[in-house]
Amino acid sequence: MHTPVKDPTGKTTEYRDENDTCPVCKSDRFLNKNLRLLVSPCYHRMCEGCIDRIFTLGPAPCPIPGCGTILRKMQFIHQTFEDLTVEKEVGVRRRIAKEFNKRRQDFQDLRSYNDYLEMVEDITFNLINNIKVRETEELIEKNRRENAALIELNIQRDERDVSSLQEEEARERRDREQRAAELRMMEEEEKFEKEREKQAIIDGLATSNTDADRLVAKTRAEAAKRSQARRRPDISNLLSSSTTTSYNNTRNTFAKDEPHVPFTDDWDDCHDRFSLRLPGDQSPYYDPTTIEVRKDVEGKYRAGGYMLEEVWERALRSAVMALDITPLPEDE
């Protein structure tokens, strides 16, 4: 009878609370374990029992004192939010979005579009807060009459947008699955190839009289050639895929890397009094103390951020710095 939660994703659930009490019959969860409160179009809550009792025989006024809106049984909806004002706002906005669905391109300039949006927001606000409801409803009705064709067109447009978006997503998902399947197949083939290679070696050793090492090497080389031939087109395929191209496009738009100027004060770091040779130069300094650092096979020194050029620069700097400072005078 009552609309259950309409949400295929299952992310929203019906709101229920342990302390729920029906404001009409005052029954609560202690008396009725399956108490379910539903919300009327005038945003009042009452239990399913009361709704059956009052509205089974046709439309009737809302039993909440001071309301009296004529309600039907089918109009009751489940509650999603704890706060009924939020419930109401969501409902109003959903309704208004259907009525006022003009787009930017339906207007000549931005100004008029913004005015339209503001008018829509005013209407929404009035409906939510029950301000000048009758006039607002008239306004909505007038809009519906005047723009019936456009509204219908825009509804169709929205539907088209949604369906194209869904298509796009579906295509991407298909691509992904296909790629994963290809990868899986490649792996399997590789495994199979390895197995075949092993088998070929064993067979060869069993049947022929050639040298064992040479046979193994020959079979391996053949297998390597085969796998090479198989892999090549895959790489080119991968490069032309859409994700890679879009990544390349974004890379080109990076900001230019300006060199950093560390010192702009009155201190002189004496860098103009020597010219540093770098470790990667044609003829770097002859320096036996740092041979090990320059080789650095395991990357031990580099890992800690040790940079030989900086160490050399520091030494050179301390060599030329303060060379011409006169010592303090000898007083008597």
Partner: protein, 355 residues
């Protein structure tokens, strides 16, 4: 002409070394160094004499206190021991040089008669290892030094750091020499093989210069150049002319002074003499620093009393604050003190405080 003058005035920049603490706080002339040591020594002697007199009047008349030169000689002996210890721990040269600088600087602000250089030396090496990025665990450190406990090193650590004014960075002559050696390779016309040999000899000279006061008077690059000059005068002069063409003569004059100091002062101190000084030091050590002596007890009691006085003063201040707390009467724990309206009326001062 004016344009160039103006341009020059705006371009004059100070080298980064002139911003260092070494330049600003640890730079002296040889006479001012001698004066500083003498006045330091006189102050220390006066203080220690007073301590002896307080202990038992007339007892200081027979004591021969150390002179400034004798103090310096003892420090010098322990400077020479630093390199032995650092070699044992396989510390890099940087640690050794830093520790030497620390020891020298420490005794510019303290006296041997207060703190014996043996322990200060150990602390200086331990601290230098930390500040030059080669830290060693205290247990591992004292393990290889006989008759030393972790407390011997750590108790002095803060004092040493404080005496250094927490200025741990030292500009070393051996780094400057390394830089000079790298840079002379760009001057053509010198044989690389002999150059390496000369660098080794110059480095030995730099190590010798650490036994002197040179680093407290001259800049590291000057000391390094002086050391190279005494090994290979041509090379040093050519390099100096290249690097500071305008002031080359002044630099050469400074260098000759450094060489003179290294030649005359870098020898190790006479061992017999130092032993005699150490024997006398046992007698004239500040009694307030000798653990277990009567003066030490008295000093400790004095410190203790001062601390207690401060504590009680602080506690009183806190208590007064607590009583003045306007919320104290409303607190549930405050029911112990009855605050009826009559008693409040009878007690005007309390009423006044409430306002």
């Amino acid at each position: 002409m004016t344009v160039s003058l103006n341009g020059q005035a705006s371009v004059v920049k100070k080298s980064l070394y002139e911003g260092s603490t070494q330049f600003r706080h640890w730079r002296f002339s040889s006479t001012s160094l001698a004066k500083l040591r003498a006045s330091q020594n006189a102050d220390a002697v006066a203080k220690i004499r007073n301590a002896f007199e307080d202990d038992s009047p007339g007892s200081s008349s027979t004591i021969q206190f150390l002179s400034a030169d004798e103090e310096y000689l003892l420090v010098k002996l322990y400077i020479s021991k630093i390199s032995q210890l650092c070699a044992h721990f396989r510390f890099p040269e940087e640690v050794e040089a830093t520790a030497v600088s620390y020891l020298k600087r420490f005794y510019l602000r303290n006296t041997v008669m207060d703190y014996h250089p043996k322990n200060v030396m150990l602390t200086a090496i331990f601290l230098a290892a930390k500040t030059s990025n080669h830290p060693i665990g205290i247990e591992q450190y004292v393990h290889s030094i006989p008759k030393t406990k972790p407390a011997d090193v750590l108790d002095l650590e803060f004092l040493v750091a404080q005496s250094l004014r927490f200025e741990f960075t030292v500009w070393h002559a051996h780094r400057a020499l390394w830089g000079i050696w790298l840079d002379v390779q760009t001057i053509s016309g010198f044989n690389q093989a002999t150059l390496e040999d000369e660098y080794g000899q110059a480095l030995e000279r730099v190590r010798a210069s650490r036994m002197t006061d040179a680093e407290l008077i001259f800049t590291p690059s000057q000391i390094a150049l002086a050391c190279l000059h005494s090994v290979s005068p041509d090379l040093a002069e050519q390099w100096a002319n290249l690097k500071s063409p305008n002031t080359a003569d002044a630099v050469m004059e400074t260098i000759s002074r450094i060489q003179e100091i290294i030649d005359t002062q870098s020898g190790p101190p006479d061992l017999a003499m130092v032993k005699d000084i150490d024997r006398r030091l046992k007698i004239c050590t500040n009694p307030e620093k000798v653990v277990g002596s009567k003066a030490y007890m008295a000093k400790q009691a004095e410190i203790e009393a001062e601390a207690a006085r401060k504590r009680t003063k602080k506690a009183e201040g806190l208590r007064a604050n607590m009583e003045r707390d306007p919320f104290a009467d409303d607190a549930p724990g405050a029911t112990l003190v009855p605050t009826e309206p009559q008693s409040a009326a009878l007690n005007p001062t309390r009423d006044h405080r409430m306002l």
